[in-house]
Symmetry: C2
Subunit: 412 residues, 2 copies
């Protein structure tokens, strides 16, 4: 099994070695992503699955059963960010395929169908729009809203999709009826270290934290750094700076005093004019706030707005706070979570029940079908990074847990 | 006089109206600067001066006297920053020419020569190297050090100089012997509001504050904003942010407790990777420190270094502080300063004795000749800005003060 996982991990990453100094780059709706999906298709066919590509480019590998009831599905994606790792996404489709292979080798016969799904274009790196394939499958894709969204290369989502030989007009047909799927699970690397920190082996996820994102614009007054006395300045940077520790400290204290954690980050910053001899006139600060508790996110936003008001008064600058994104967090199906937890525990693995701080395809699937998310550890919590790493042992554990879950769900 | 000033102010700015929404753009060693210098030459010739261009492109307009003693010189520049105003530099050459015109009209005959100098390429906007013309004239131009410095357009200083028909090899010949000049004065807009704030009419400047500039690099650790708990971060932005108010507050308190002011500004900032869902891994902060008191600048630098050390320990990040620029401040000639002050006061104008927070051509001339700097007010202290403005009344006052000074210095 380890050997098979190692070989097909590399195959799905289109490589002979997982050590890539520059990482991987398979953006959504590009030739690179398509080649990796082709590898997924050929592995699936090798282990005896029948594969269909849908109108969004998703590949659905199906193990038919006599009873054509709704399928029990597992899946993830094979696209990456720029300079990303070879486990974010790939681990999920690889372990899904490996679980099917294991069940076949054991002579298992499911009474209802099993599917392994490879979703198209999960990462937001190319267009700033994430999980396009799973949005299409679950009926959440807003065609009009996203079709003209343009990547750095000047190509729109519509053009990119059509460039892969698909029809943008037909993409809505990728939506599947409720009765097509019984439940959906995704395996993903944790992208954090909570599993390790807790001395556990894997994670069973309760909910996916989706962000509130703010853009804070602070307008002070430019001036010559040499000729404007300290007491006569409206330096936008001086007014903005206290927000950064405030955001960090407030998130820490809210996490300490609530049942679930919250994270908040001042992650983007632009300073104008950004010249050595000019006092900063304008700064723009981007803030990312996440928690599975939406009211906690809202509380954090309100505290930031209050702080901005205070800073505006203290420094005589104009501060505008815009809510760029306000995505309610997604609660996963509790029964599916418990089944994943029990599947792992029955094999002797120690579970941690936790939340996901990052978004995944499962959050779209959860809008329509009972869905669950399984985490395996990744080294130092690193992801979206060339040094992203999960051990073959953990991929094997993930495979075993998925196999156990599928077996339980598709036996009589 | 007012009419003449207004007309020639526009002529030197190559325009019919000083209201330019986008400001002016006459970078050093470009056709635009050369056209403005041509206007300077033609005005000078119109009022009866003899003009020479030197090997650095400076224009020297001379009123010969029977006694060929060292000349009493006044001057400034006509180049601008991008989107700059029409007074920074131009005011100095305009008032110099106007003063000569006034003296000629009064029938004054100097016993020693008077010069009005228009220096080439004062601003650092094109190459990051300032006051090239006055450096060449005073023998401070380090040819080897600057010749390959390249502007945004990919052109080196050497190529730019040669592009104007000058010889880079010969540029050192622009240096003038000590005995060529008796004293030098420059009139400039204040680029601040201290004159107005003090209820004075003009400024007599004691010294030019030259900067210490620091580049502070803070290295933390990137991570996913959604999956990295608050307590497990090494956010470079969170570690860096306290520096910004620290720098501002420390400069304010040092100014309050010392005889001369100090200004310090966190003026440039780069955050990497600057992505909404990634914790900042590295930030680079540029700091500009100015005071005419070099020991005060040094004290400020040391306090910043100490604070960086503390922040590095507190946040577990690496902080490197590099001194990019350490230019000793320039003391102007006290006798010349007093004479400028008295010239103005004798005409009924109220003087403020102050320092210059910005660099000017005079700081190079001061290295070789007794030199002084005269400030006239500018609206709201704005400069390097399309709305930079000085009134015709203040240009007239500047003209009168220069004329008075030249008369005193070149009479028997």
């Amino acid at each position: 099994m380890k050997e098979w996982l190692d070989k097909h991990l590399k195959a799905l990453n289109l490589t002979d070695s997982m050590n890539q100094a520059e990482g991987f780059c398979r953006l959504g709706y590009t030739e690179e992503e398509w080649r990796a999906i082709d590898v997924f298709v050929s592995i699936a066919e090798d282990i005896g699955l029948k594969v269909q590509r849908d109108e969004a480019g998703n590949a659905i590998a199906r193990w038919e059963a006599e009873d054509s009831s709704p399928a029990v599905a597992a899946g993830s994606h094979v696209d990456t960010v720029k300079g990303g790792g070879g486990y974010d996404g790939v681990a999920g489709v690889l372990c899904g395929l490996a679980a099917v292979k294991k069940l076949k080798e054991e002579g298992f016969e499911p009474v209802i169908p099993i599917e392994v799904i490879c979703f198209a274009s999960e990462e937001s790196s190319r267009f700033g729009v994430s999980t396009i394939g799973s949005k299409a499958m679950s009926g959440l894709l807003n065609k009009k809203e996203v079709e003209d969204v343009t990547g750095e290369d000047g190509i729109t989502i519509r053009q990119a999709v059509e460039g892969m030989g698909l029809s943008w007009e037909a993409i809505e047909k990728a939506e599947r009826p409720e009765k097509a799927i019984k439940s959906f699970i995704e395996l993903h690397i944790e992208q954090g270290t909570r599993i390790e920190d807790a001395g556990a082996d894997f994670g069973a996820v309760t909910a996916v934290a989706c962000p509130i994102r703010l853009k804070i614009t602070i307008k002070g007054q430019m001036g010559h750094t040499g000729t404007t006395p300290m007491g006569k300045r409206k330096d936008a940077f001086v007014a903005a700076a206290p927000l950064v520790p405030f955001i960090s400290e407030t998130a820490l204290s809210l996490s300490d005093s609530n049942a679930v954690p919250i994270v908040a980050t001042a992650s983007t910053f632009e300073l104008k004019p950004n010249a050595m001899n000019v006092i900063p006139g304008t700064v723009e600060l981007g803030v990312d706030i996440r928690s599975v508790d939406d009211s906690l996110k809202k509380e954090m936003e309100e505290l930031i707005r209050k702080k901005c008001h205070q800073l505006s008064e203290s420094f005589g600058v104009k501060i505008e706070v815009k809510t760029l994104v306000h995505n309610p967090s997604v609660q996963l199906d509790e029964a599916v979570m418990r089944k994943l937890q029990q599947s792992g525990e029955s094999l002797g693995y120690k579970a941690l029940v936790l939340e996901s701080g990052a978004g995944h395809d499962v959050m779209n699937m959860a809008a329509k079908w009972p869905s669950g998310l399984l985490f395996i550890p990744c080294k130092n919590g690193l992801s979206h990074h060339p040094e992203e790493y999960a051990s073959i042992e953990d991929l094997e554990m993930g495979t075993e847990i998925i196999a156990q879950y599928l077996k339980n769900e598709t036996s009589i």
